[in-house]
């Protein structure tokens, strides 16, 4: 395929148009979700009310009054925040070690870590449920969800951090070492400030993955540690069309993460493209 020159007249129109089209395609489901959330359940499924309807906040008031939205939201904030912090707490030293003091097994370890993501979650559902419920007594606790979310995201966190850290010249770290800086000092005072964009984008992505995780948060909780994923799951009805209510719950669940992504998009893009162009 011939490459369209960005500076040509056609390119100046074509590329922005393509970018907007792609952006609109990606944004449309979010828009439709929010749009539907202002319809009643009855209106949400009627074609005659597809665009023309009387907006209502009924679904949102119902969600906060009857579905305890804030309890689920607070649990999501707690578990996602602490899982992200814990993943970074383990991931930063691990990535540091592998980036600056690699052994001949480093690559194998990295691949092995990533391969754990290939394990189907359902395969360990029963032992996880049985052990956490009957032996450890930590079923439906924040602690369990934080640990699980951290561990399932740890491979990606380490991989991302490893990639960013590899971009930093080894000599800078060695210079610090020669100046008598401790290992922790190297990480805290040299590495993290230099790779701040990468660390921030890793943290953000990890937070987003934790927030959106549904398989384990639905299955390892009952009431105390249930997150917004569980609230959405619980609003799916096998018999009955409650799309207005489901849309409101879903919009309120994805809302915070969309806002967070919006505010942090600069860091996110900078971090994700860090080292991409050499």
């Amino acid at each position: 395929m011939a490459v369209i020159d960005q500076t040509s007249k056609f390119g100046k129109v074509f590329w922005p148009l393509l970018a907007w089209t792609v952006a609109l395609i990606f944004f449309f489901p979010i828009f439709w979700l929010v749009f539907t959330s202002f319809k009643t359940d009855a209106d949400a499924v009627k074609p005659e009310f597809l665009f023309k309807f009387t907006p209502t906040l009924e679904n949102y008031t119902n969600m906060t009054e009857n579905y305890d939205y804030w309890r689920f939201a607070i649990n999501s904030v707690i578990t996602s925040t602490f899982a992200t912090l814990f993943a970074l707490f383990v991931g930063v030293p691990a990535a540091y070690a592998m980036a600056f003091n690699p052994s001949r097994h480093t690559k194998d370890i990295l691949v092995w870590m990533l391969s754990t993501k290939m394990l189907p979650a359902a395969a360990v559902l029963y032992p996880m449920t049985f052990l956490t419920k009957n032996y450890l007594g930590i079923f439906d606790t924040h602690f369990l969800i934080i640990v699980v979310l951290s561990l399932i995201n740890l491979p990606i966190v380490i991989w991302m951090l490893f990639t960013y850290f590899k971009e930093i010249p080894k000599e800078i770290i060695e210079a610090g070492k020669m100046d008598g800086v401790s290992t922790w000092g190297e990480i805290k005072d040299i590495l993290i400030p230099l790779a701040w964009g990468g660390v921030a984008s890793t943290a953000l992505l990890c937070f987003i993955f934790c927030w959106n995780e549904a398989y384990w948060t639905v299955r390892l909780t009952t009431t105390d540690a249930a997150t917004l994923s569980k609230l959405i799951e619980g609003n799916r009805a096998p018999e009955g069309l409650f799309f207005g209510r489901l849309s409101a719950v879903s919009a309120a669940a994805v809302g915070p993460i969309v806002v967070l992504g919006w505010f942090c998009q600069k860091q996110l893009v900078r971090g994700l493209t860090f080292g991409a162009v050499k």
């Binding site: 602490f82 707490f89 606790t141 009431t223 619980g234 799916r236 009805a237 096998p238 018999e239």
Partner: protein, 428 residues
């Protein structure tokens, strides 16, 4: 970092405390997210006020509910005091000792419970789950369309007449499809309907040795008929349609006829709907299904007595009256299909045009084991392996419907899958 550590530690302790604190005046109830269950959460505020029992509702999608409740009950996890289960699970779990037998006070009037429901939720004559709402299946058709086409639909009509009526009202260019039926794969989705068709053709899932019968002539005839009817007179993409998808189509005025759960009648918003008992191909036994969402108490629950008390209230005549009298609901919202007394209220009859048809369908449903089928259940077999067998067969039936496989190939593959599951389970 100290702060992170301290907070994490506090959560460990807090979490551990949370799992052990289970006061007797607090009940955790796992429910499926259906309209009647949602209403119950509001109506039950009165129960909390009267008894002081706090109710924690855990609303779950049907598949997840089954998965969670099964693992919790089987492992004796004790996460839930009351669980929502269906008619497929109740007799099996009762026999396995996973759920408590239910005995209620004389005021409960258990004889008012519809016999089909009571039998379907019992094992060896002991009730293990109390029905919260129940359903059978029936034909819901647009009389305005059948009248205009000059055709009729009768109670227990023959499948040939149903097909002729569907053909007469099928006008895809005008956006009207003759027959809307379940096609989405799932043992509770397409297989619920397909099983009733097979039953009506004289077929069954298993013989007396529990060998699958999917390669029988009855299955072949039934599936060929189903694929022909839905393929020619159904909406496009029927292999993706189940209850909710068809409900949406029906309310958009796109379905001339729908054979599905009687509960659907209470959601229909189009004019001119008429009802008829399920069609059959000469064998009316098993042509209409029977299902209930019921409430049960996991064995060994520390709050068993309080839980039974709540179930007694939530499945009583008083509860039905409480829904009817509730300012947000009324007689149109009462859970149906459980008690004969509900159908006797003139106020209910006035708002529920489907009441008589629903009651007749439930009363004629026959879940008991017979010579033809050695298992309990109409649209399912009440054996632990059925969900696995049903799900495997469901995929093959959807493939036959979409045209990805021929009916013969799909049935052969289904027979082979079912045979392997039953052999592995040790039936033969």
């Amino acid at each position: 970092m100290k702060l992170v550590y301290k907070t994490a530690l506090a959560m460990v302790l807090g979490g551990a405390t949370a799992t052990t604190a289970s006061a007797a005046d607090e009940l955790t109830i796992a429910i499926v997210n259906n309209g009647h269950m949602i209403n119950m959460q509001k109506v039950a505020e009165a129960y909390t006020e009267a008894t002081g029992t706090k109710l924690n509702w855990v609303s779950l999608e049907e598949g997840v509910l089954r998965e969670q409740v099964t693992s919790d009950t089987a492992t004796g996890g004790g996460q839930y005091d009351i669980i929502n289960i269906g008619m497929q699970e109740a007799p099996i779990w009762g026999a396995a000792g996973w759920i408590e037998p239910l005995e209620f006070s004389a005021d409960y009037d258990i004889d008012d419970m519809l016999p089909a429901m009571r039998n379907g939720l019992s094992h060896d004559g002991t009730l293990y789950a109390a029905p919260f709402y129940g359903e059978s299946s029936m034909v819901m058709y647009r009389k305005d369309l059948t009248d205009a086409a000059g055709v009729t639909v009768a109670d227990n009509d023959s499948w040939d007449n149903i097909k002729a009526a569907a053909a007469a009202i099928h006008k895809p260019d005008d956006g009207i499809y003759g027959a809307c039926l379940r096609g989405k794969p799932g043992w509770g989705d397409n297989m619920a309907f397909i099983t009733t068709v097979v039953n009506s053709f004289g077929g069954a899932w298993f013989d007396k040795d529990f060998k699958p019968q999917l390669d029988s002539q009855q299955w072949k005839d039934a599936i060929n008929f189903y694929v022909d009817l839905l393929g020619n007179y159904g909406p496009p993409g029927s292999e993706g349609n189940s209850f909710n998808e068809i409900l949406a189509l029906y309310n958009e005025g796109k379905c001339g006829m729908w054979i599905d759960a009687t509960i659907a009648a209470s959601f229909l918003e189009v004019d001119g709907v008429a009802y008829a008992q399920s069609p059959n191909a000469g064998n009316p036994v098993g042509a209409n299904w029977l299902w209930a969402w019921a409430m049960a108490v996991p064995a060994g629950s520390p709050n068993a007595e309080a839980s039974k008390q709540f179930i007694e209230w939530a499945t009583s005549k008083e509860y039905i009256k409480a829904v009817a009298d509730h300012p947000e609901f009324g007689w149109g919202s009462v859970p149906t299909g459980t008690r004969a007394s509900t159908y006797a209220y003139p106020e209910f009859q006035a708002v529920a045009g489907f009441a008589a048809a629903e009651m007749a369908a439930i009363e004629s449903a026959a879940p008991a084991a017979t010579d033809l089928k050695p298992y309990v259940g109409v649209q399912f077999a009440a054996i632990p392996e059925f969900p696995e067998v049903g799900s495997a067969v469901a995929q093959e039936m959807a493939a036959a419907l979409s045209g990805a496989k021929s009916v013969d190939d799909a049935l052969a593959a289904a027979q082979s899958a079912a045979d392997a599951i039953m052999k592995e389970a040790g039936y033969y």
